[in-house]
Amino acid sequence: MAEIIQEQMGIYDKLQILSDAAKYDVACTSSGVDRQGDGTGMGNCQKAGICHSFSADGRCISLLKILFTNECIYDCKYCVNRSSNDVVRTSFTPDEICTLTMEFYRRNYIEGLFLSSGILKSPNYTMELIYAALYKLRHECNFQGYIHVKAIPGAAQELIQRVGFLADRMSVNLELPTAESLRLLAPHKNRKNILAPMRLVQQKMEDNKQEIVLYKNAPRFVPAGQSTQMIIGATPETDYQILSVAESLYKKFELKRVFYSAFVAVNEDSALPARTGEGPPLLREHRLYQADWLLRFYRFEAGELLNEKSPNFNIFLDPKCDWALKHLEYFPVEVNRADYNTLLRVPGIGCKSASRIVKARRMGTLQFEDLKKMGVVLKRALYFLTCNGKMMYRTKIEEDYIMRNLLNTKEKLPDSVLGMTFKQLSLFDDMTPGQAILR
């Protein structure tokens, strides 16, 4: 193991190294908990979260996102800090973490701390260090801002519990969608060790709810819930597999969020996809976030959006349009009668507009003009709707025809996926619908 440990490194260099090593963690949100300061320390939390800056990649900076250490004994193939890499190693002390957090927070640079870590010596040893840092921050510095902390797989339950009472959010990274991929790319980790702390956090949160009912001042355990993330594109899983995993995490572990992180090639390794010069699969990541949204807010199931036969998202159409085109038998639906769930499934109608429609039609029959005011995107919805039995224009209800028209209206892709080249798009050629042409 090539290792350069520098004992006397200054805090500036440590911060450079340990933030650089933490940047691949996508979650930076400070949301999920409302807490007023009690006047004896520093900090508070706002439910919606607060961003404080944006880095050059356009991602929000809300938390001081750092690793405790990159002196890691594990050798995950995709990670810069893997033990077989020849990189400068260092660790913070709990005091340094407290100073950085408090001084950054005081200047309104950040909303709190996001503390992750490599495995120094052992999972328990690492978790103890994390506990020591958070304890100091909460009880000596009296910090009342947001803390997101990683639970280290393999650490003792009792330790994870203690840490959970100091944090607002906890996450355990699933890392890769399947146990098989995990075995290949993260030989020291296993699925069981990852799911065990997730289950523990879920149960503790449940117990804590009871405690709070009984004793109003009982300490809170992870009040902002838990999340996880997986790397997309390092291993051969289909979108269908990935989305199904996410779905079961939401259902079985009651996660607040599942994050998807487009694979960034930092190591050369025969077990990893070859570096292509095309950059991370950002469009694929975007489609997964769209589908994730459909699971959480639109009452879709993974198995409706994708299946074994067509296991990947359409690169040209967002998952909802794609679903609707494959299920034309459900359409058109009548705006003045369809129930809320059915309306939700119409492309161009969102959660807000669907509930506005349901409310407004009690007062009278709706026309197409009214829909526009309610935020319905008619150029997409018009193929799937009738108002009083009439379609907006005469249109064929036919997959190819609608697809051509929808492609003409151009989906507005967010800036985060623009900047992608056509070459990248054509990577997904196998899921290109029949005659669609990129315009």
């Binding site: 940047k23 300061g37 944006f54 880095s55 990649d57 356009g58 005081r106 200047r107 309104n108 640079y109």
Partner: protein, 252 residues
């Protein structure tokens, strides 16, 4: 002939003008204009307003009582904006509220252009204030006071005061609004106050504490190293963090 009441560009000024206009002319043709930004019109009579705290308090009470607290919130925030017709829009919204069935629901009457304007302005100020809870940067001065300077369009200080007071109860801190030359001052363990009519002593404001530079450098370094090069996207960064906010931010 239309009666136009002229007042200073302050909440007390505008509320005093509303007081006079309401009292003397609410059934006639009247309006309110801010001193210094009026474009004189023909066939208008201009009336100077005597501005007093009593009038201002009376109008505040009138609005809260008749239009409710939520509408007051919108009217007040609209007045903090930098639109030169905001006083008139607020006054006419109050007049409109007399005509509708339930005055407390006045802000739902968005088809009235004055109400729509008040609504829009209040949104704008609230949004801008929210930006400042995100983007304000403090620096530590030699005497331990945390100082921030901002250049907002609207007068956002009162909108962000509670947020920072709750957040930093034990600190002495101060936010200086360079546009409107107003200070928001917070002394440790006390409530905040607004201070007007003072000028920032730039020499004293430049005397930063011994460790200030170091933390600023640490932060700048962090903002760079946390970005993923392979995902670089300056457009996206600009959409989220408009250039105009960056002038007072440590990391830019």
């Amino acid at each position: 002939m239309k009666q136009v009441y002229i007042c200073h560009d302050t909440i007390t000024g505008i509320f005093s003008a509303i007081y006079d206009a309401w009292k003397e002319n609410r059934d006639g043709d009247s309006g309110i204009a801010l001193r210094g930004v009026i474009i004189p019109q023909l066939f208008c009579e201009y009336i100077e307003v005597e501005e007093t705290v009593q009038k201002s308090v009376a109008v505040e009470r009138l609005i809260k009582k008749n239009l409710g607290y939520n509408a007051y919130w919108d009217l007040y925030h609209a007045l903090l904006s930098d639109d030169c017709e905001r006083a008139d829009a607020v006054y006419h919204t109050m007049l409109e509220a007399r005509k509708v069935k339930d005055s407390k629901k006045i802000m739902e009457h968005l088809s009235n252009p004055h109400v729509a304007k008040v609504f829009e302005l209040s949104r704008k100020v609230a949004n801008e204030a929210h930006f400042f809870t995100e983007f304000i940067r403090f620096r530590e001065l030699e005497n331990g006071v945390m100082l921030s300077e901002i250049t907002p369009k609207g007068q956002v200080l009162t909108c962000i005061a509670d947020h920072f007071t709750n957040r930093f109860p034990l600190e002495h801190w101060m936010v200086y609004d360079k546009t409107h030359r107003v200070f928001l001052v917070h002394q440790a363990k006390k409530n905040w106050v607004l201070v007007q009519g003072e000028i920032l002593d730039t020499e004293a404001a430049g005397r930063i504490s011994e460790t200030e530079e170091e933390f600023a450098e640490l932060w700048k370094g962090f903002c760079k190293s946390i970005s993923i090069e392979e995902r670089e996207n300056l457009n996206l960064q600009r959409n989220h963090l408009p250039i105009r906010f960056r002038q007072n931010m440590t990391e830019f």
